[in-house]
Structure formats: structure tokens, C-alpha cells
């Protein structure tokens, strides 16, 4: 447990800005353990950027860094992302 930990809900605004739609109810599948779950429920760590971790195995699903007018998104740990249309 880490006091700096939040959950995916806390990034709802930024995710909506990046993806253009509500993302906390989107379902992501972890590339580490294969567990699927809603983005609002994943663990969020804030430092220089945001790291989203799987609540089951701790694998880093996604990293986002905002710098000035640019945003970098790293999806390496995410096998799939299912959005509501």
C-alpha cells in the first residue's frame, strides 16, 4: 500500500481529454496476468507522470506524461481496451 496511490477515477478528466470520451468505464485487459477490469478501478501512481497498474498483479498497464503542449502515452502493459460506443 502506498499513500501516493489513487485509482483510475482520479485521471478521468485527463483520459477524457486524450481519448475524447469517458474512459473510467472502459475495460482494459492486463498483458501480464490477463485480468480484465474497468479503468476506474486500476491503481494510479502519480509522480512526474501517471502510471496505471493492474490491481491484481501490479503490472504497469499504461503510462502518461504531460509536458507543455504534448502528451506521451505508453500502452505497453495493456493487451486490449474495450470502450463503450
Amino acid at each position: 500500500m502506498d499513500a501516493l496511490m489513487l485509482d483510475g477515477n482520479a485521471a478521468a478528466g485527463l483520459l477524457q481529454e486524450i481519448f475524447g470520451s469517458e474512459m473510467t468505464t472502459a475495460v482494459g485487459t492486463c498483458d501480464g496476468c490477463g485480468t480484465a477490469g474497468e479503468v476506474g478501478a486500476v491503481l494510479l501512481y502519480r509522480g512526474a507522470g501517471l502510471a496505471f497498474r493492474c490491481p491484481h498483479c501490479g503490472n504497469v498497464l499504461m503510462k502518461i506524461v504531460v509536458g507543455g503542449e504534448r502528451v506521451w502515452v505508453d500502452f505497453r502493459g495493456l493487451r486490449a481496451l474495450e470502450l463503450n460506443t
Partner: protein, 250 residues
């Protein structure tokens, strides 16, 4: 359609402070008038952005405390002494001031008025805020969904919305409140006086066959303890929705 309030690009909106209401020694409710506000669902947040004279910007996410009702929204903000944003919001803002906010955002931690069974709300400290929006929305809609709020605070003086919660419970429409005061209890206190643990959840919460959904909000250690306690009691993890308030709330 349901999604109109949450889909699409987010724009920063000008929000004018129309009312300031002290709640406890550390919290204040700020009522904003937001022209064009699209409405929200109970449990959603807004992002607040402050810009300094030199252009430096700070953003924070705050839960909406009010039920959806026209262009006005309430945020209840806890003052964190070393925070960057909250002391400004609680100490410096005056009525007539205009700040920027965007939202509503979030769709995961929201009240579902069509849930079957009992809704269990578990609040730690200022984690009551989005749960209060749910209690208010429920009352506004004259919902009779059985709803129990377990509210953990350090002392009675730290309980936010105490009078209003008493009024909501007095409607006898299926909503009730159980308090636990973890640090100091007034003389003659007949509520709980300890931290929320699995035994307390067993005594206060619905059995697993009756739980529609549990919404748990508070500091991270509180949320972890409650969520794991509920799982230990046999509740399905998918029915437990959590929202952690971290130090980034500053």
C-alpha cells in the same frame, strides 16, 4: 441519451463563486454557478484549474457534493495545510470570484438508481463528499432504494453534513446512517468508536446476498481496509466500487 453528459471533448468553463459555507474547521462548501452546465451523475468529479499571474497552472480533481439541479454545483473542499490548491479554495475565494473548471468527469464511481438490493455507502473523513451527492440524488428522486451509510470520522466535530444527514435519515424512506468516531467520542456516545474493520462491516453492512453495490471513498489505507474486509465477508469484488482520496488532492 445517457452519455450526453460524459461523452465528447472537455472544455474549461468559467465558474462563479456564489456561496461559501463553512462545514467543519477543515472543510468548506463552495457553490459555483456554471453557465451551460450539462448536469452530472452523483459521484462524478470536476477538474479545477487555477492560474497564477505568472502563468503557472495547478489542476486538481474534486468530487461534486450536490445532486444534479440546474447550473449550480457544490464542491466541498478539505483544507490540506501543505496543499497547493485547497488552501486557496478554502481561504482566499470570495463570492463573485471566477475560476476555471471542467467536467463532469468519471463514470465508474456513480450512483445507479436502478440497482437491486441494498446500497452500502462507506465514507472515511472527507470521502463522504461523493457519497453525499448520492444520498442527495436519491432524496431528490424520491428513491426508496435501501441505502445504508457508514461514516467514519475522527470526532463529531469532523462530521460533514451532520444536520442534513439527520434530516435524510428522518424521512424514514430506507436511508440510514451509522457513525464511528475513531479518535474522540462525546460523553454518552452510543455509536461506534473504532476504526472500520471486518467485524464492524459485518455488524453494519448488508449480507452478501442483499448487497446491490458498495461505494467506498476515503484515504487510501481506509479504502484498502474496507474493500478487503468486504471481500473477506464474501462480497463480490465487482460490486465494490472504490475511490481513493490521496495527498494529491492538495
Amino acid at each position: 441519451m445517457e452519455g450526453t453528459a460524459v461523452l465528447g471533448r472537455l472544455n474549461w468553463r468559467a465558474a462563479e463563486v456564489v456561496e461559501l459555507t463553512p462545514e467543519t474547521s477543515q472543510t468548506k462548501t463552495i457553490t459555483f454557478d456554471v453557465p451551460g452546465w450539462p448536469g452530472h451523475r452523483a459521484g462524478q468529479h470536476v477538474d479545477v484549474r487555477l492560474t497564477a499571474d505568472d502563468g503557472y497552472q495547478a489542476e486538481r480533481s474534486y468530487s461534486i457534493a450536490s445532486a444534479a439541479d440546474g447550473p449550480r454545483i457544490d464542491l466541498t473542499v478539505e483544507r490540506l495545510d501543505d496543499g497547493e490548491v485547497s488552501p486557496y479554495l478554502t481561504d482566499e475565494l470570495r463570492t463573485g470570484d471566477v475560476i476555471e473548471l471542467r467536467g463532469p468527469v468519471g463514470g465508474y464511481f456513480v450512483w445507479n438508481p436502478h440497482a437491486e438490493g441494498t446500497v452500502f455507502l462507506v465514507a472515511g473523513g472527507s470521502g463522504i463528499v461523493p457519497l453525499m451527492a448520492m444520498a442527495r440524488q436519491r432524496a431528490l428522486e424520491s428513491s426508496r432504494i435501501p441505502t445504508r451509510l457508514l461514516y467514519s470520522a475522527r470526532s463529531l466535530d469532523d462530521v460533514i453534513y451532520r444536520d442534513e444527514l439527520a434530516e435524510l435519515a428522518a424521512r424514514v424512506d430506507g436511508f440510514d446512517v451509522v457513525y464511528t468516531l475513531t479518535r474522540t467520542q462525546p460523553a454518552g456516545w452510543d455509536g461506534y468508536g473504532r476504526r472500520v474493520d471486518t467485524d464492524l462491516l459485518r455488524e453494519v453492512g448488508p449480507v452478501s446476498s442483499e448487497l446491490a453495490v458498495a461505494f467506498v471513498c476515503g484515504p487510501t489505507p481506509f479504502v484498502e481496509a474496507v474493500a478487503s474486509g468486504l471481500v473477506e465477508l464474501g462480497h463480490e469484488p465487482a460490486r465494490i466500487k472504490t475511490e481513493r482520496f490521496g495527498p494529491t488532492g492538495g
